[in-house]
Symmetry: C2
């Protein structure tokens, strides 16, 4: 078993100095003689000493913690299933750590209605990153109004008085449409729910590109949930009722694209000969599927870093604005 926990005072006694000196030494305060500092740090290491974070946070009124708030499906309280969002969280985690902060993984269930109260007043975190397309606009709004340091992963073009980081969804939609057209598509189909802000932008970009080629007559929109199952079902249904009246698909996410692909393949629709498909996200699966999936890549690593940096800048009192990540078309076999 473990020996009794050392407190700073014990360490100080061991070193023959006062607690204040020990504290300053561990924090590398230049007020303390270099030599003393090193001696105490060495001693701390030998004894596996660690500061009590609770005490430290109480005294400093800072936690060195960033909370990541994942919007759960409020109906089912389901955990997130979309691999893309989980990847974003994972990359945020790394970025947070690189800055010496810790990551509190939370969700709408824990945080309740008063996010500022829970996280900030409750001294659980210094700031919050919100991830995931929730219907929680109102809660975000009011937390932001209450002065909670906050950055949101979403569509950066959205008008809001809080900071948003996200991809250039409009351009993504445009690129996807241009690509489909360049492949000879005459009757492209958009698969997704444009009411959702990010997807709405993708749809706008998509439509703009389509319109500029004058083929908007033949362009269709199929509103579905952002899951592969929904895409699979929707495409199946559509093929049964309308037949194959489209020759290209732009799916609002890779998971959606893969669901659609499966439905098509089951009915022996050839990809990309009969239907060209473009997805969005570039999750790992996009490269592994057969045929591999052409898609618009979102840079999650950069996203994580940007989200964190902007939040920390806010904590430093800087004025911060929303910003947009570059996206990139990755051509593969499906188109």
């Amino acid at each position: 078993m473990h020996q009794k926990k050392l407190k700073l005072a014990d360490l100080a006694k061991l070193a023959g100095v006062s607690t204040s000196t020990a504290s300053r030494a561990l924090n590398d305060n230049p007020l303390i003689k270099q030599e003393t500092r090193e001696r105490i740090q060495q001693l701390a290491k030998e004894h596996n000493f660690s500061l009590n974070a609770a005490a430290s946070r109480l005294r400093l009124q800072k936690t060195k913690v960033i909370a990541v708030l994942i919007n759960l499906d409020s109906e089912t309280e389901q955990s997130i299933d979309d691999p893309f969002l989980l990847k974003v969280v994972s990359d945020i985690n790394l970025a947070v750590n690189r800055q010496g902060y810790e990551l509190l993984l939370s969700n709408s269930f824990m945080a309740g209605d008063d996010w500022h109260g829970y996280f900030i007043d409750g001294r659980r975190a210094d700031g919050v990153i919100v991830v995931g397309q929730g219907k929680q606009q109102a809660l975000i709004e009011s937390a932001s109004k209450a002065g909670m340091p906050l950055v949101v992963w979403g569509d950066p073009k959205t008008e809001a008085d809080y900071v948003i980081v996200g991809s250039d969804n409009y351009l993504g939609g445009k690129l996807a449409a241009d690509h489909l057209i360049s492949r000879g598509c005459k009757a492209p189909l958009f698969l997704g729910e444009p009411e959702h802000a990010e997807i709405g932008e993708r749809y706008s970009g998509f439509c703009a590109a389509i319109a500029s080629k004058g083929i908007e007559e033949e362009c269709q929109l199929l509103k579905i949930d952002i899951t592969s199952q929904a895409a699979y079902d929707a495409i199946n249904l559509k093929l049964r009722s309308d037949g194959l009246d489209f020759d290209g698909i732009f799916a609002c996410s890779d998971m959606v694209a893969l669901g659609a692909m499966k439905a098509l393949k089951e009915r022996y629709v050839s990809i990309p000969n009969d239907v060209h498909i473009v997805g969005f996200d570039d999750i790992a699966m996009a490269d592994v599927s057969f045929p591999s999936l052409t898609t618009i890549r979102q840079d999650t690593k950069q996203a994580g870093e940007l989200l964190v940096n902007k939040l920390l800048a806010q904590l430093d009192g800087e004025q911060v604005v929303s910003s947009q990540l570059a996206i990139k078309l990755v051509e593969r076999q499906s188109s």
Copy 2:
């Protein structure tokens, strides 16, 4: 902006009681008259009051936090890519929350070498759940020896003096092999690295079933990393050098299976006619791939709950032992 943060003393003053009464009231302590309790709780709600978690933790010597330690690839410091592990984390999150605890998402990079010191002495968490096949056996061992409350996601058959929760990998391997054989496979191939504990068990179960049918002569093992890319490359290479000298694959994970499937499809090997495939995990993609993937389902929801419950039991001083989760063969088109 936000009004100045209320402290418990302020709330007490507003209610016309002492701090101690207010504290007890908020914690629903029966020492306080029911009516007073309700009045104070009501008042707290009205003023969006929340207790300072730092102060509370300092006083209580408890954090009500559980840390989840994800073993990063120590070489590349890459974030996790495997959708299955991320799903496990996500389900742990829910289970943790349901118990009224919070989740600190951490990794080997932050925790350093002295996990007990960092998490427990540092009062960052009350206990730790380790996820992910790290080479960190030694660190786990010593943290456990130091008395750190700990549960590990891994292979529960492994001899260890800490508590492990995981699926019945041996049985999973057996089921997979039996299934392949029942489909007429005569020359099955195992895809994965048996040095890894969990995969080793799957391989043992697989071999046992194969041997009982007397076809071990034709059985092959292809050692690869647990990524779809590695599987894709390995199968490609094998087809080129040996030709198609197997008629079934048991992949150590779904991602691996999907990588293998892609390589086969590109060479027009028919699935399941020429080669039957069984994966492991049952990630969302297994159902969406084409053909959909037969696989051994691991129950991540139950895993999350079991991991958390066992950890909390340890915190309550109970004696806890490793345990095994039931798995299930999910038959789909690939076999």
